[in-house]
């Protein structure tokens, strides 16, 4: 047994030469190989200590996930350090992942020995003193408090579990995020981590694991919703010398960040899931394909793999089962289409990430021509729970056709942004209004975009829709990977469709004609109606023709494109066209953007009363749309104006106005 574990399990009699196959269970529950009350007590004690339920020193935990850092958690952390030193206050300062409530970042937790754990946010550098004060037994800053952890709050302090953001969540995948130090495997172990793997390797055959996962009804969380166990079984039953598992962390949907949060906050959950999946298909090599845009997650993941190898939870002869697994991290180089499994495989092989025709499916012939299962991070992160608690318990959550939970990334014009995990079947309105607190700033809700570039915009009348793989399709949306972007009355839906098409245009692999050229035409059409000039070179007649063609072209793209990305690429157009037709009509017939979201349709003008003729705006206008000489009143030529607002920025007299 390695040094790392020897430090913690003093009662273990096994040695490095004869490692204990049950060491995960032994570590957290006491020795299984013999009756040993002292050992059991010591294990229980260890668990409590690692979970910070016992201990003498206060602990301050700062959420330094990417979102935390973007909100200034780095400065908060530094300030906390300074404040603690200044007060000579002893406290352990720990960096953790994201608790999920991004809008309250930077989030800081304080663990007071013998009293409990509290989450605060947003805690800026200026607030650090008050947290340090509280760590020394001072007053709990109630105005910063999000809630107290544990079953119930103290009389005057609210419980975190009662917070509207957390109240209706069911956290399985996110159970540890923000709570544990992701850089220490012990913390995952102390919360039951790797037990499911240990039991699976000891008691189940690969075929049994496939059956259990099939029975659980777990479906791929990456968007497709294919039954995970079924996919595994195909790979398991294909004979080959080598098989591969790929963890797909190429989370490219704009507006989705659950994979990042899981890897940053609880990387071992992914690794344990991967080990289970690899065992089930008899793969001894696995890859995590992760976006280069996630440097922190990559760092955490690599460290986690190192630690798991050190403990013999990855590597050769895992837990004395004879099962070997090497996990390598492959950093994607930035291509959305690599989320598609055949493109992803091509990318690992060192090729351009272009989807290829299927069949053969990767489960039969994938990476290097060998059977390969590609599973999304969230899917894999569910496995410790599926195997740990059994398929029945897993199935108990969710709906008939969609078992378990789904993590959503809630963002956009919403009061509480962040990561939420809800039971399948939860209604969209619960997520948006109860958990997310509704639209920010007193504005009116317009739509929620679900499923990223492949999904659709759901208007208010359909907010009663339950989130599951079937219901969302009936309203022209899809689960996708789980981005939920809320749009309010200021968001232009035509612009949103244009935004997604621009994205698809940029990210299409370029191989098949319907996707490459079809989406280009769709985009041109939308550009021509969201700008004033004859954008994209279309005259008014061509513009109308294009609009008439829009739907038919979209149907052909769906019908004839090579991969899922192309086939679903017209969805944002079709769904907005379906639900927000009047907005399109205003753009087409009146050259007007009702919500003001289309910059180029904005009308800017100069107030003659306020203009002093300083020429500052003339100098800044990129299209030469402003006429006027020094000390004379200026005016804007509407036909040249692109609405960029440079003049607004330049004017020091407030003379430029937006109509």
């Amino acid at each position: 047994m390695t040094d790392r574990l020897r430090q913690t399990v003093r009662y273990c009699r096994h040695t490095g030469e004869t490692p204990c196959p049950d060491r995960v269970a032994c570590l957290t529950g006491g020795p299984l190989c013999r009756e040993d009350p002292a050992g059991a007590a010591a294990a229980a004690d260890w668990v409590r200590r690692v979970r910070r339920e016992t201990g003498e020193k206060p602990v301050i935990l700062v959420g330094t996930g990417t979102c935390g850092l973007a909100a200034g958690a780095g400065a908060t952390l530094a300030a906390l350090n300074v404040e603690l030193v200044r007060r000579k206050q002893e406290a352990e300062l720990v960096e953790v992942g994201c608790l999920g409530l991004c809008s309250s970042e930077p989030i800081v937790d304080l663990v007071l020995p013998g009293r409990g754990r509290y989450s605060f946010g947003p805690v800026t550098a200026a607030d650090a003193g008050r947290i340090a004060e509280a760590a020394g037994g001072g007053e709990i800053p109630a105005d910063l408090l999000i809630g107290r952890h544990g079953p119930s709050g103290e009389a005057d302090l609210p419980a975190l579990a009662d917070h509207p953001f957390f109240r209706s969540q069911t956290r399985i995948v996110l159970a540890n995020c923000g709570l544990i130090d992701p850089s220490r495997i012990e913390e995952y172990l102390a919360r039951g981590g790797y037990r499911a793997l240990g039991e699976t390797l000891k008691n189940r055959t690969p075929a049994e694991v496939c059956s259990l996962v099939e029975a659980s009804g777990l479906r791929g969380r990456g968007g497709g919703g294919f039954l995970t166990g079924k996919k595994w079984r195909i790979a398991l039953e294909t004979t080959a010398d080598r098989k591969f598992l790929v963890g797909n962390a190429d989370e490219g949907d704009p507006g989705a960040f659950m994979d990042r949060a899981v890897i940053e906050g609880d990387p071992h959950r992914l690794l344990e899931g991967m080990a289970i999946a690899a065992y089930a298909i008899r793969a001894s090599k696995a890859y995590v394909y992760i976006r280069a845009e996630y440097p922190l997650a990559i760092r955490r993941l690599k460290e986690a793999i190192r630690q798991a190898e050190e403990l013999g939870l990855l590597g050769s002869n895992i837990l004395d089962s004879g099962f070997n697994l090497e996990i390598a991290v492959k950093t994607g180089a930035g291509a959305f289409v690599c989320g598609e499994e055949t493109a992803l495989i091509g990318s690992i092989e060192g090729k351009r990430g272009m989807p290829r025709p299927r069949p053969p499916y990767p489960a039969v012939s994938g990476l290097f021509g060998c059977p390969t299962v590609v599973n999304n991070v969230e899917t894999l992160a569910n496995l410790p729970d599926v195997l740990g608690r059994g398929p029945e318990k897993f199935r108990a959550v969710g709906t008939e056709n969609s078992a378990g939970t789904k993590v959503f990334a809630l963002s956009g014009k919403i009061a509480r942004t962040g990561l939420v995990e809800v039971a399948m079947g939860t209604r969209l309105e619960e997520i948006v209004f109860e958990i997310g607190g509704g639209v920010a700033g007193g504005k009116k809700f317009k739509a929620v975009q679900i499923g990223g570039p492949s999904g659709g915009c759901v208007p208010v009348q359909h907010l009663g829709t339950e989130v599951d793989y079937v219901s969302l399709k009936t309203i022209g949306a899809m689960m996708g990977s789980g981005g939920l972007v809320v749009m309010d009355e200021d968001t232009c839906m035509v612009d949103v469709a244009r935004f997604f098409l621009e994205f698809i245009q940029r990210e299409s692999c370029g191989r098949c004609i319907p996707c490459r050229e079809g989406t280009r035409q769709l985009l041109r059409t939308l550009e021509s109606i969201t700008s004033r000039r004859e954008a994209a070179g279309l005259n008014p007649l061509q513009r109308f023709q294009s609009v008439i063609n829009l739907k038919k072209l979209a149907e052909t793209i769906k019908d004839a494109s090579l991969c899922g990305l192309g086939q679903s690429s017209p969805n944002p157009v079709l769904s907005t066209l379906n639900f927000f037709r009047e907005e399109y009509e205003a753009h087409v017939y009146e050259r007007r953007c009702p919500s003001g979201g289309c910059v180029e349709l904005r009308t800017l003008r100069i107030d003659p009363e306020k203009c002093v003729g300083c020429t500052a705006c003339v100098a800044r206008c990129p299209t030469g749309a402003i006429k006027g000489t020094a000390k004379k009143m200026h005016y804007i030529l509407l036909e040249k104006c692109v609405g960029c607002g440079a003049c607004l920025e330049a004017c020091r007299f407030g003379a430029v106005e937006r109509e």
Partner: protein
């Protein structure tokens, strides 16, 4: 086990693992394709071959969907046709509307498709691709604005030719086919074989057009314009004029060339015999002096560039013989010039070749003496066909004429140069003569005939066993070289043709996607050989006279100066 499927209600059987396209065609239906190529990996890119399959939600490509028992396929359902039409319309939107000026006018798949699908008006506003014409190479012109990104050129270049000079670059609507760093073809590893031109369904790839220069020369009263035509031209040119593939139009070609104003019409098959005289002597000498062996043939200029770029270690193995084109070029501007009393500088020497790389070969600095190139212009079969049409000449109605002396006579050994394996066969016939004093009993070497890319045989000449191979396609050649380096193959003499199947399938030949057409061209050459009066190069009396009056003997000092050359490693972006 045959797999029964139905195509538009008719039952057809498919082979296991067979893609739908083949049984659909057997059922008598044709689904259009752009990116599909026989023998290439299907990429499912163009989506034109989409069909409806009962019970499936989207459309499926017939090139990449394997047949499954009981499949009910609808090839021309309204949905499938609409999709195809939309795809072509989308392509047309990005295409420059310059068909009338296009090198591919009349031979363009995109034009055909637009016609077949009845597209009569523009549905999507024009949005043409930017023009980034690449005319940097002496052989091939690229016009990416006409590229539809089917990727056939990329696959032919990589999978078949083993060169990979071009690849997809960029992504999305910025995707383009490009040489490394988007640079010109001239500094790329392209061997100018022109197989990409043959594969290209549109005018994005074409030969560098030399017809203008030739027409100009023809009109220059100061110049004597001579022309030679390669062995394979006479069996392929007819296709351009509606004659059946493999029809020998040798005499008609000579008649047409004279009508176009060429002053002399020579036959490159003559200098193929000359090449054989030199090359078989070189083989015998190498056999006698111990190498370096294997001797590699040198008449295919793409292959030469390929060795210089990728396998310079094999340069000493290459025969030093110039190709027939260049040998004839050299004797035209020396011996012929003297005979006819013309200043070499006033001769404009044109070669009609099945090949785009020949344009490059003619421009090699080694192929000139005292600043005068041996060959002034190279025309492909397609280019000469254009000139004949331009000249208003009705090829089929002409009376056959003979090529001109002193370079108009050929043996059929020279003629079969046009088929892969022909050079080897011709050389061995002559080598046998050189070593034993008589031609071999068995003239025909069946083992190295046929469409295979690598053909090996063992022949015995004067008690010595020779291991020979005929290889076509540089991809196959690379394999053979690598296997020899690894000690897996031992050979004495190898013929290498750059293009798969040899010159009949050259990059400058009439467009065809039908492998049967290529087979017909080959059969025509061997038919000529079978009925030939003289079948060994040394029996060519004009050759004998040339040696007697001018060159002396094979490998003489004069031969070396005029008919042999040297090679050197080539630094290109590779």
């Amino acid at each position: 086990m045959k797999i029964p499927i139905t195509v538009n209600g008719r039952t057809v059987e498919a082979e296991p693992g067979e893609m739908l396209l083949a049984p659909i065609r057997r059922a008598g239906y044709s689904v259009p394709t752009l990116c599909y190529g026989e023998g290439m990996t299907p990429t499912g890119a163009c989506r034109l071959c989409v069909v409806e399959i009962e019970g499936r939600s989207g459309l499926a490509t017939s090139c990449a969907t394997p047949a499954e028992a009981g499949m009910e396929v609808l090839t021309h359902s309204p949905r499938a046709v609409e999709a195809r039409r939309t795809i072509v319309e989308l392509l047309l939107a990005r295409h420059p509307d310059d068909c009338l000026y296009c090198a591919r006018h009349g031979f363009c798949r995109l034009q055909d498709l637009a016609e077949d699908l009845g597209i009569r008006r523009r549905r999507f506003p024009a949005d043409p691709l930017p023009t980034r014409l690449d005319i940097s190479s002496p052989a091939i012109a690229r016009d990416p604005a006409k590229c539809i990104l089917c990727g056939k050129c990329v696959r032919v270049c990589e999978e078949i030719q083993g060169v990979a000079a071009i690849d997809f670059s960029g992504r999305g609507s910025e995707t383009r086919i490009a040489a490394a760093f988007d640079e010109g073809m001239n500094i790329s590893s392209c061997v100018y074989c022109g197989q990409c031109v043959r594969a290209c369904p549109t005018g994005a790839l074409a030969e560098q057009d030399s017809t203008g220069r030739v027409l100009e020369a023809l009109q220059d009263p100061e110049l004597t314009v001579v022309v030679q035509h390669a062995p394979s031209i006479s069996v392929t040119l007819g296709e351009e004029f509606g004659l059946p593939a493999g029809k020998d139009v040798d005499g008609l070609l000579a008649a047409a060339l004279r009508r176009l104003g060429f002053d002399r019409v020579f036959d490159t098959s003559f200098s193929a015999d000359l090449t054989i005289m030199e090359e078989s002597s070189e083989l015998v000498r190498r056999l006698e002096t111990g190498g370096p062996l294997p001797l590699l043939t040198s008449c295919s200029p793409g292959w030469i560039k390929f060795v210089e770029e990728f396998h310079p270690r094999f340069i000493p193995h290459l025969s030093t013989c110039k190709s027939p084109q260049q040998m004839l070029g050299a004797v035209i501007k020396t011996h012929f010039a003297k005979l006819a009393g013309i200043v070499p500088g006033k001769i404009f020497s044109v070669a009609i070749m099945p090949c785009t790389a020949k344009k490059f070969e003619a421009a090699r600095p080694e192929m000139a003496r005292e600043g005068l190139p041996d060959i002034d212009a190279v025309l492909t079969t397609r280019e000469i066909a254009r000139m004949i049409r331009m000249g208003g000449i009705d090829l089929a109605r002409l009376e056959p004429e003979e090529s001109d002396p002193p370079f108009g006579e050929r043996t059929t050994a020279g003629k079969i140069f046009g088929a892969g394996g022909g050079v080897m066969e011709a050389a061995l016939r002559n080598a046998h003569y050189l070593l034993t004093g008589s031609p071999p009993e068995r003239l025909e070497l069946k083992e190295i005939r046929g469409p295979a890319g690598i053909k090996e045989a063992e022949v015995e000449i004067a008690g010595r066993k020779l291991r020979v191979a005929a290889v076509s396609g540089t991809g196959n050649a690379r394999r053979v070289l690598e296997e020899m380096e690894a000690g897996l193959r031992e050979l004495d003499f190898i013929e290498v043709m750059t293009c798969p199947g040899g010159c009949v399938n050259g990059g400058g030949q009439p467009y065809t996607a039908d492998p049967e057409t290529i087979r017909k061209r080959v059969r025509a050459l061997y038919r000529l050989d079978r009925s030939g009066e003289r079948r060994v190069s040394r029996e060519n009396r004009s050759i004998q006279r040339l040696y007697r009056e001018f060159l002396g003997e094979p490998l003489s000092e004069k031969s070396h100066r005029l008919l042999h050359t040297a090679y050197s490693p080539r630094d290109v972006t590779k």
